[in-house]
């Protein structure tokens, strides 16, 4: 939610040809439905137009025939009127049907366009690299996919197409009035220029007012959001009065803008109403004379009055549509910004498919930083934020090592040594700035990302469980993994015992990221998940968690030893017990490989590993 408040709304024009063209691309597949909908809309407008005409016929023929027309009996007149009324009912029913069908059809188009757009956005987001997700709050992405797309719906359903209806109704009324009596029509149209001027002025003012209200409200909300987050600071420094004064200022600015908008609205509606009445008065004055001269009939006059009243409604509507357009433009701008976000880690055009791996891993002089790297005038490179080259934000500084197929290696190091970066590069969540990461002697950048990852299993310390059953979470939606394989993976890792003890076993539905499961149980599911995918290379992030009891610890160790069997494995280890399962230990320090060897050899050396061992492992074991 909070992402909504941390940015000022983009407020631009209500019509941006570039955006509209792009949006139209999404509507095009539903062109037929849109065409039918427009047809229905025209039909509904026609039905609306028919009403006053039928009144005219009724008055002139039956109710108050002009002097000189052939006189009928009152009974015949009433019968005629009844037929006319029946006809009117039919027209009404048609109009009703057309309107309902039209609105449903347009909703259907709008909903499908939104579903398409959402699917495209999500598909695109999935292709973006981890660096995008590291710098973009999840809440903001959710808002883009949900609320911003929703804002477009109104544009499609009640904005764009409805304008056709409004314009058609206005043109239709003008045509019918001219046809009935062009002089009377002219009397009404005399008011039109004024209406246009007023509407245009209203439109402009309401655009400015709307913008002012929205921006100022956004400012209030952003301020409020920040103040709530920093409330303790304000309270400790006893700055509540000053904060309240600042808030009052924002609040007053918003009030002022709101009042401006309200005054504008308050003036516009009565003004248009008055102009309508003026038109009617003109009709009456001029039409009365026409009738006296025998040029027009009373029926025409009454119909003209009715038309004059309806004429101004679409005009008012048109002004309202403006806001819908503006909001939709702002949303589509944000949506397209997401869609235009380039994927930083791309498959090479001639990326190789991966059928199977032996599992040999090599890093060759790998330099890596998470931020952008600036290349300086003298040719040297430094990550952004580093003051001097050689210090600062390099996570890896020329790391080289080789891991043979089937070898099990632990990577240890102090906080910030660059351990996680090794995993991030191997899985191509990021690409290094310099050097090569090789799997089976092939640069990972030459392989198709998803192929590569299918052969690399990953167990993260912070286990992420999706909503769904336990089996779903082990299988991760892969239909190629059978129920038997799911169970086998669970048994191998020791997860089967607690899963089968649950009343619904593997079909147990997990809620809220596995609430109700202990952190140890979640870990076991993560191991089962990695094993079920049968990877040739397994990466395990085993950060020390303080909240694991001895029993769980034993369970996790069992799972780990099962998982490491028969494959190449890298374990980012924080526990001595974990280190016992591996063949070799790589010690990373400040982005470099500092030591390499077996546990005993490294301990005997008395270097960084020996210190780390005493610091990290000593009292956790």
């Amino acid at each position: 939610m909070s992402a909504v408040f941390d940015e000022d709304p983009i407020l631009g024009r209500a019509y941006d040809a570039r955006l509209v063209r792009r949006l139209l691309g999404y509507v095009r597949p539903y062109g037929v439905a849109v065409a039918v909908s427009i047809g229905l809309l025209l039909l509904a407008s026609l039905a609306d137009l028919a009403g006053p005409l039928l009144y005219r016929v009724g008055i002139d023929r039956y109710i108050a025939p002009p002097a000189g027309s052939s006189a009928r009996s009152a009974g015949a007149d009433f019968r005629g009127l009844t037929t006319l009324a029946a006809l009117y009912l039919v027209v009404l029913a048609c109009g009703f049907g057309a309107r309902w069908a039209q609105s449903y059809l347009m909703q259907a188009v709008g909903q499908h366009v939104m579903a398409d757009l959402r699917a495209q956005m999500v598909g695109h987001l999935q292709r973006l690299s981890m660096s995008f997700f590291a710098r973009t709050p999840v809440g903001r992405l959710v808002t883009r996919v949900t609320n911003d797309v929703d804002a477009l719906n109104e544009l499609i359903t009640s904005g764009a197409v409805a304008i056709f209806g409004d314009i058609f109704t206005m043109v239709g009324i003008m045509a019918v009035m001219v046809w009935m009596d062009w002089r009377l029509a002219l009397a009404v149209f005399a008011v039109l220029p004024v209406v246009f001027v007023i509407t245009e002025r209203f439109r402009q003012r309401s655009r400015d007012a709307y913008r002012a209200v929205r921006t100022r409200l956004a400012r209030i909300n952003a301020y409020l959001n920040e103040q709530i987050s920093g409330m303790t600071v304000t309270q400790l420094f006893t700055q509540e009065p000053r904060a309240l004064r600042a808030f009052d200022g924002l609040n007053a600015a918003h009030l002022e803008a709101s009042l401006g908008a309200t005054r504008n609205f308050s003036q516009f509606y009565p003004a248009v109403q008055f102009l309508g009445a003026l038109g009617v008065a003109l009709l009456l004055w001029f039409g009365g004379g026409q009738i006296a001269r025998g040029v027009a009939t009373l029926g025409v006059l009454v119909a003209a009055v009715q038309y004059a009243e309806r004429f101004f409604d679409p005009l008012r509507d048109l002004a309202d549509k403006f806001n819908i357009f503006q909001a939709a433009m702002a949303s589509s701008e944000r949506i397209f910004r997401v869609l235009d976000e380039p994927a930083a880690v791309l498959d090479a055009p001639d990326a190789l498919p991966v059928r199977g791996l032996r599992g040999e891993i090599a890093f060759r002089d790998v330099w890596f930083a998470y931020g952008d790297v600036l290349f300086r005038d003298d040719g040297a490179a430094a990550p952004r934020g580093a003051r001097r080259s050689g210090e600062g934000d390099w996570a890896l500084r020329g790391v080289s090592f080789t891991i043979r197929a089937g070898e099990r290696v632990a990577i240890v190091g102090h906080t910030g040594a660059g351990k996680t970066s090794i995993i991030n590069l191997l899985t191509r969540f990021y690409d290094p700035q310099r050097g090569q990461v090789l799997v089976d002697g092939v640069d990972v950048r030459a392989l198709a990302q998803r192929d590569l990852r299918r052969h690399i299993g990953l167990v993260l310390q912070d286990v992420f469980l999706f909503s769904g059953t336990i089996a779903d979470n082990i299988r991760l939606g892969n239909p190629e993994i059978s129920d038997a394989e799911v169970q086998r993976a669970a048994e191998q890792t020791g997860a089967a015992r607690f899963i089968e003890a649950l009343p619904r076993g593997y079909a147990t539905v997990l809620h809220e990221r596995g609430a109700g499961l202990s952190s140890g149980q979640k870990q076991l599911i993560a191991f089962a998940r990695a094993l079920a995918a049968r990877p040739e290379i397994l990466l395990v992030l085993d950060e020390a968690t303080s909240s694991v009891d001895a029993e769980t610890e034993a369970l996790i160790q069992r799972a780990l030893s099962a998982a490491l069997r028969d494959r190449t494995a890298i374990v980012i280890a924080h526990r001595l017990s974990t280190v016992r399962h591996v063949d070799r230990i790589l010690v990373l320090h400040k982005g470099r490989v500092a030591e390499d060897g077996t546990h005993d050899a490294l301990l005997a050396r008395g270097g960084i590993y020996a210190k780390l061992y005493r610091l990290q492992f000593a009292d956790l074991d």
């Binding site: 939610m1 009724g58 008055i59 039956y62 108050a64 009152a74 009127l81 009912l89 009404l92 109009g95 009703f96 609105s103 449903y104 909703q107 939104m114 579903a115 999840v138 809440g139 992405l141 959710v142 209030i220 103040q227 920093g230 409330m231 303790t232 600071v233 304000t234 400790l236 006893t238 509540e240 309240l244 009030l255 309200t262 609205f265 509606y269 009565p270 008055f274 009456l284 004055w285 006296a292 009243e309 300086r376 003298d378 490179a381 080259s389 500084r397 020329g398 899985t427 998803r450 299918r454 990953l458 999706f466 909503s467 991760l476 892969n478 320090h589 960084i608 780390l612 005493r614 610091l615």
Partner: protein, 596 residues
Amino acid sequence: MRSRRFWTYIRRHRRAYLLGYAAALVSIAMAQSSPWVLRLAVDGIRRHLGVGPLTMYAAALVGLAAAEAAASYVMRWSILAAAYRVETDLRREYFAHLQRMPLAFFERTPTGDLMARAVNDIRAVQRFAGVGLMRSVHTVVMLVASVAFMLSLNVRLTLWMLAILPFVTLVFLLLGREIHRRFDAVQAQFSSLSTRVQEMMSGIRVVKAFAREPDQLARFREASDEVVRANLRLARAQGALWPVIGLILGVASVVLLWQGGGAVIRGTLTLGELVQFSYYLARLSFPMIALGWVTNLWQQGRASMTRLDEIFAQTPAVADPPAPLAAGGIRGEITFRRVSVAFDGKAVLRDVSLVIPAGRTVAVVGPTGAGKTTLVSLIARILDPTDGQVLVDGHDVRQLPLAALRAAVAVVPQEPFLFSASLYENIAFGTPGPLPPLRGPAVLAAAEVSQIAADAADFPLGYDTVVGERGVTLSGGQRQRATLARAVMRDPRILILDDALSSVDTQTEQAILKGLRGVMAARTSIVIAHRISTIRAADRIVVLDQGRVVDQGTHDELIGRGGLYADLYERELLREALEAAEPAPAAEEPGDGGPS
């Protein structure tokens, strides 16, 4: 609307409401008169009236319309404007109320929830106070007046209309309820779609690692299709609403033509009266719709006001005592007397007793979760103890005026929070009265002591650079140093550093501590820290473990006793040795220029 608070706000602007309602009456009176003029004109035309009277009628219509428009403008302007003022008042008091809430309140109430109330509920209340209150009176009067005029014209025709028109309200309410139900279903589907996206994006690492993008996309599409289905169900009902209402009004118009026309043919009604009647029908249509609409506004407004009242009903836990002691100059002696703190029944501090003499520097050490932050939070009353007393200069802090206490205590918290304002405003944040002049000696001195001055010089606009969430992104160390400057700027009697230099490198920390010793001479300091150099510099060290003071004394005394402190000390030495160690192979910097 039961909320007493709501009506208090309305009463504040009662003149505007009364003026608005008076204008509404005038506007309705004018609106009801013009059909009557129209009837005279139409009947006049039928009797071949001259141009003179016709002009008069036309002029009368214009005059009435002008008066109606003017009155309608006054009605809208005064009531709607008053509603915005109510909104502004409400928002102000909401914020002022939040300012009085204790930390515990913000910890149990998500910011999103507070924001939702501030954004959506305040708007709903404003809409009820404006359009809702305006339309409710206008609608009822318009309805009664129109029916009365209709009855005076033709009873039979009126009964016909009264048989048809209530269906408008009925449809609005019944269909409205159905729409509401389906709308809830849409919201539920929509929120599960949001949850799905949230989950996909939070778990993107796992999705990518296992190459499960297609499956996730398919699951997303399912949720998305559900949203489409729910929306189309809603569209069937919602799309019918206005057409149905249009149909009913159309039927009324047909019946008027049929029955009213018949009456004219029979001679029981004049054509002018028929026209007049048709106008009342039109005047009646909108109130029939508005009736349903106002009901909705009223329901939403009431629900929203209830949600706001829930927040207003929360009383501040940390409040000034009924009769606070006069706070003289606080010297800065701090005493904890058998203090215990528990959160949800879980003890965080247990029976802590401690005396910190004025003017001394005390370091508090202990493993994570020992209760260090809780301990120092009690002094400035970020928290109140569950049991026992915290005394400053011998007075229970709960007996001191909160503002005076907090003016004397400056806390630099673990999580440095800066506001989206210039660096200068952030440093000068706590100074009483108007801000000191820019680059005034006090600001510069505080920036110098906190070692943020050099960074400020590097910023694009120096001290005017906006920092915080919507400004320049500062590093963790820069943020900590800026918050330290903010605390030093207050010139406090008691300075509390809650692990406040953890992201600052060792040399800078030493420079800061050296500077602080000058500034803080003869003031009380409490420092939670890990670095040995910082801890050793304190006059006394207090060791906390699992909520208890397990030891205290000077560094040498504690090392001599060889307890928890000695362990912590040894681990810290190791950590510092590791941090200082340089790996053996010195690799080259990348780049064509070679090492630089």
